[in-house]
């Protein structure tokens, strides 16, 4: 069976229900990847956003809502719903949010991106199933649409499956 790999770039989002597909995103430094999967319909989405709040550049957010958490996450959820995904069933996982020196010389953006996702998801009535966030390493995230399984590679390390964990106290953050 041919597996089709859908690459999600920076400030990008892809949604599919093709069970033969794999959604993948690379170079998650301070950015956050939000992976959502409906285990019944297989409708799945992967969002890779750069910044927490669109208020800093509303024009950019209009051109590309996936650049920001507060426009990207709701937009992805709309697309998932239109594709047949049920918000109440969604399995949601977060990866990324590392403390890296970004182009603005800012260390804290990773944490801000992470907190933005947590705040928006809580407001949307969604609890996070698992996360691999923080630390200082860049990550790659890959999700199989058919099974909903998700793998993370941290730095140059081995890819490992991200399974259910508790919140920040049980966070897989490269330790």
């Amino acid at each position: 069976m041919a597996v089709s790999s859908l690459v999600v770039g920076i400030s990008d989002c892809k949604v599919t229900r093709d069970a033969e597909s794999v959604l993948v995103t690379y170079a998650l430094g301070s950015c956050i990847a939000v992976a959502m999967h409906d285990p019944v319909t297989k409708v799945s989405g992967l969002l890779h956003y750069m910044l927490p709040e669109s208020a800093i550049d509303a024009k950019k957010a209009e051109l590309n809502p996936f650049m920001f958490a507060d426009t990207g996450i709701p937009r992805m959820m709309d697309v998932l719903k239109n594709a047949g995904g049920d918000g109440k069933r969604m399995v949601v996982r977060l990866t990324g949010g590392a403390q890296v020196l970004d182009s603005q010389g800012v260390f804290q953006i990773g944490k801000r991106n992470y907190l933005a996702a947590r705040r928006i998801l809580w407001k949307a009535g969604i609890l996070v199933a698992a996360e691999a966030v923080g630390g200082e390493v860049s990550r790659t995230t890959r999700m199989e649409v058919g099974s909903g399984r998700l793998w993370v590679r941290e730095g140059g390390g081995v890819e490992r499956e991200l399974v259910r964990s508790s919140g920040p106290k049980g966070r897989n953050n490269g330790e």
Partner: protein, 166 residues
């Protein structure tokens, strides 16, 4: 050393550790349940006159109180974050209740970190205007949060003397 000065001295002896604790606990509480982050800020208190504030007393092996101030523009977003609502959906009563609960969580977490082997009880927090407590024996920090400002003061007090024991 008179007992009241002994308490102040004990607090000040721990000051570098206690200051770190305030910072770390404030960050942990705000990130974990309020999904926002706090950074230490230089103190400038003009905003406190209009801030939403709560005071909470504690007793047991240590007696004292904590005062929390949240700037007016931050109280709504903080409350909304906690409850998972939009700020416009909140009532003034809910604003106040969240500030009280925030003070409760901050105080309990700080005391548990500072004195993990102690026996403590927290009284119910009360909404109150901000008070500038005397600096002697006081632990105080201001923070910036994305929504506005936050201030925390903690002081110990000598335990109440039994009547007639002067």
């Amino acid at each position: 050393m008179p007992p009241e000065l002994e308490h102040q001295s004990m607090m000040m002896d721990q000051e570098p550790t206690a200051s770190d604790t305030i910072r770390e606990v404030a960050a942990e509480v705000l990130e974990t349940m309020f999904f926002t982050e706090a950074e230490l800020a230089t103190c400038e208190h003009s905003w406190l006159a209009a801030a939403a504030c709560a005071r909470i007393r504690f007793e047991g092996s240590h007696f004292g109180e904590m005062l929390l101030g949240v700037s007016l523009e931050a109280a709504g977003p903080i409350a909304a974050s906690f409850l998972g609502l939009e700020p416009v959906e909140l009532t003034d009563t809910q604003h106040g209740q969240v500030i009280q609960e925030l003070s409760n969580i901050l105080c309990g977490a700080m005391l548990s970190h500072l004195w993990p082997e102690s026996k403590l009880a927290l009284l119910s927090p009360e909404l109150t205007p901000w008070q500038e407590w005397p600096p002697a024996g006081l632990l105080h920090r201001c923070f910036t949060i994305p929504e506005g400002m936050l201030a925390i003061s903690i002081r110990l007090a000598p335990p109440a003397q039994p009547a007639g024991n002067q």
